[in-house]
Amino acid sequence: MKQISHLSHYFFRKDKKQILSFGMIILITALILHLALVLALRIDPAYDRLSDELHSADIDMVIPQMTDSPALSDAVRRHPSVEQFEQQRAILQKAVMKDFRGTDFELNILFYNWDDPRAIHRLSCRRRSKEAVQNPIYLPLYIAEFGEYAPGETITFSIGGKDFSYTVAGVVQEMQYGNASAELMGVFLPDAQYRQLAQALESGEVVNYAVRTGEGADRQTVLTDLRKTAEEKQAPVLFAMTRESRKQSRMMVTNLLTVILAAFAVIVLLVSIFLCRFRIKTTVAEEMAQMGVLKSLGFTSGGIIAAEVLPYTAAALLFSVLGVALSYGLLPTLVNVLALQAGFRFDVAYSPAALILTVALLTVVTLVFTWLSAGRIRRLLPIAAIRGVTDGRGMKKNRFPLAKTPGSVHFTLMLKQMAVSARQNVLLFVVLFVMTILIAFSGSLFYNGIIRPDHLMNTLSDESPDVILQVSSSDIVGMKRAIGSLDGAEKVLSYAIRQVQVGDENAVAFVCEDFSQTQNDGCYEGQNPVSGREIAIGSALAERLGCGVGDTAVVTYGDTSRSYRIVGLVQSVNNRGEICELTDQGFAALSGGKETHSLYVYLKNSADADGFIEKAKTACGGEIVSAVNAAKKQREAQSLYMGIITVVIAVIFAVTALIVLLILFVIIRSMMTQCRQEFGIYKAIGYSGRQLVAQTAGSLMPVTVAAALSSALLGLVWLPAVNHAIFGMVGAMKNHMEQPVGILLLFAAAEIAVTLLISVLLARPIKKIEAYSLIKE
């Protein structure tokens, strides 16, 4: 044992710097893996725990207060799966929150009475204003933190043209609604303010049936039952959701991030496996004679292997613990960002499971792979090792003979050097190949999010013109013509968004005179409706109603129902696929044709939307009720995405560069130990330091180029699949992402350039090897 630790110490001292870079890669792996594990293991249970703590409902269903009746509540109570329920009164309004993170934000808001007792969906007040405030309001975490309203500050809701301002008295953690991808949000007013608002608005009073089901009940089925019951009792369901759908929308980003981090961790882990394999094999080759001597002295193979494996395993253990520690430094920030958009606070707690899993996985993987790689020591006969009679790898054939290979001698020597370094080529290829997977992914993001941001925006958002005009005139055709003839207008479409029911399901209806003129075609199967009898329905509806193209769907709006032929399936990430498309005539048959639609205006120069709005107001004055600069909103959303994408690309490039740096450090170090004498001989012959640096860095390039290019081109195959999977997770059946070869090659070229630069820098110490050192040895 003592001898082994001695020997181990020797191997460690000899390879100190290389073990250190191996450790760095393990550290990165541990960091990423641990982040992924903590997210996977802690946030989800924390979400459920908080839901239970606050006694959250399994099903929420909002109906107009006027239509609520004892008959309905009795029916709900009698449902076998309903364990407990509560009727919570509220005022439902479509409201614009002013200065929400610097812009206006429109959302369906439920104003609840803070003083109503609550058994279900309890609220836990997280932060309170220090002093008593005038006109208090309690905001959910999401609105307060993402919208940036601190306790003591003012929040203004604009409802139907009237402004209502309140002072934030406290911030509550609630598990009823959540984030922006739910189309509903609840805020809480004390009794006095609640009454005032109800009086001022005289409409919108609703009741939320908050229902808790028994264990094992299928919530979606129960919801369908309750929906039917409500309709039988003449109570239209305005909004409904289950615990699952709520959780899905709140946890979407977290889940996405967890998957991406896990994939990232696997890639880096692969790199570290190949790295330790490479190092062990190289050490065995370098220390061949030593090992022979050791064996002849009576060391067993097992002893030598143990001594070799020990430093790497110890490094894996140490650095994975360090990586985990470091990840605790990053976790609060990460969790804050996630909490911000998920609308619930998650306390970063120490997770023994994640710690043990990370450290154990990395240590065991290192142990296994170093052990397997060191196996060659067993087959080594002492005498053969001492004599240096190796298996003659790379010596069998004189590759790239100088006399016959065309091109300069330097180029040929570079090829020769490459040809004799099989092990290092394998490592380099694997690393470059897997890192290029990330690079190709970032290339795709770059193209679709920054060069052609419309690709990403069209995938994630609905139809977005430059200007949306709300007009009061009943002569919509005349208005359309007037607006369309204004300078700068390219086209004008009449467009409306309405809340309807398709079958039993609530849905948002997009109503347009001509879908072929729209800019963002969300149709992923079949086609958009053309005639008044046709409809296209959203992916979620199609799934829940169990129908597809060719079937019929019954749409209810107000008191009128009508059936339509389904001609297409459309997607909407914003509305989670709960949408439908109807033509103007098709919708007129439901609404009686009296409603005025908005005008969607598309401009020749979208940057000048504000100027256009001024023009339109001057021209049509009183007929314009409201004008929204949608282009600006779109640009803001776009710049948010662009910011995120830029960060992601920067992180990917930085991590890739770091890993390539660490790997090349190990490769070039190994080369310099193995080829020290060779470099001395070259120098004696008259090769300059610069030539040798170029030759060494150059010998890495063919493999680098091959790996990067092949991996990047392979991106053409897998990127569409990955994009499909990722966007499918958020409900986009069809995405507009493209993978131009040029961008992939460009990104691969950038990676190759970085690799070349790093290799040249790392190979520079070759200059210091003196020809004279030959004699000293």
């Binding site: 010596m395 003979p401 020769k416 070259y682 012959i685 008259g686 610069r690 030959l774």
Partner: protein, 258 residues
Amino acid sequence: MKNSENKNHILLSVRHLNKSFRSGDAEQTIINDLDLDIRQGDFTVIMGSSGAGKSTLLYALSGMDKPTSGSITFCGEDITSYSADKLAVFRRKHCGFVFQQIYLLDKMSLMDNALTAGLLVGGKKKETVRRAAALFEKVNLPEVTWKKFPSQISGGEAQRAGIVRAVINRPEVLFADEPTGALNSHNSDAVLDVFTELSRDGQSIIMVTHDKKSALRGNRVIYLRDGRIFGECDLGEYTPDNAARTDKLNAFLTEMNW
């Protein structure tokens, strides 16, 4: 050979050469204010006891190592001020090296070892290959060996290949540091014969040795002690089995207290 008609031309001139090594705090002077001229076409042999600084001198002369002070003028150029890369370029054109440990590049064939040096200075590839082949023939390495790797041949063959690599660029001086030190007597003779033949062709050679048999091949023997030239002996042209030369060398070495 270049300038072979001008036998008394001074090829290499050394003035006030000093070389010292620092080991820890102590400074050890190995070459101490040494003056030396090497004439065109001479086969100069440097002798001295082990550790006298023979190798140190040889590698300073050839621009492989930088002296502490003093000047070395080689082919009319003062090479003492050259940078490492400039010295490399200088070496490839003007110097050839043969080492005791041979130092062939073991990952390539003998032919490629020769061409690695030969192709470095430019010129037509075909001509260089032809010259390499001719040299291999000259040192008695038949074509079947050219494709072999250094690990597949004997030490004597390897050293002869080493000589081919050293002279392929027609260097002004061929430097050899105990070229037969690692060889058995049979192989040594074969290698020394190559040196003699090269010398007869006019090649200037500077060879370090501590072996009398090798020293006999030279026409001028220099004895190094205390970092200076302690004695010098002119043996005249080599002829095999020349008892007079052998006696002369023996007497000189006795005088040098060898």
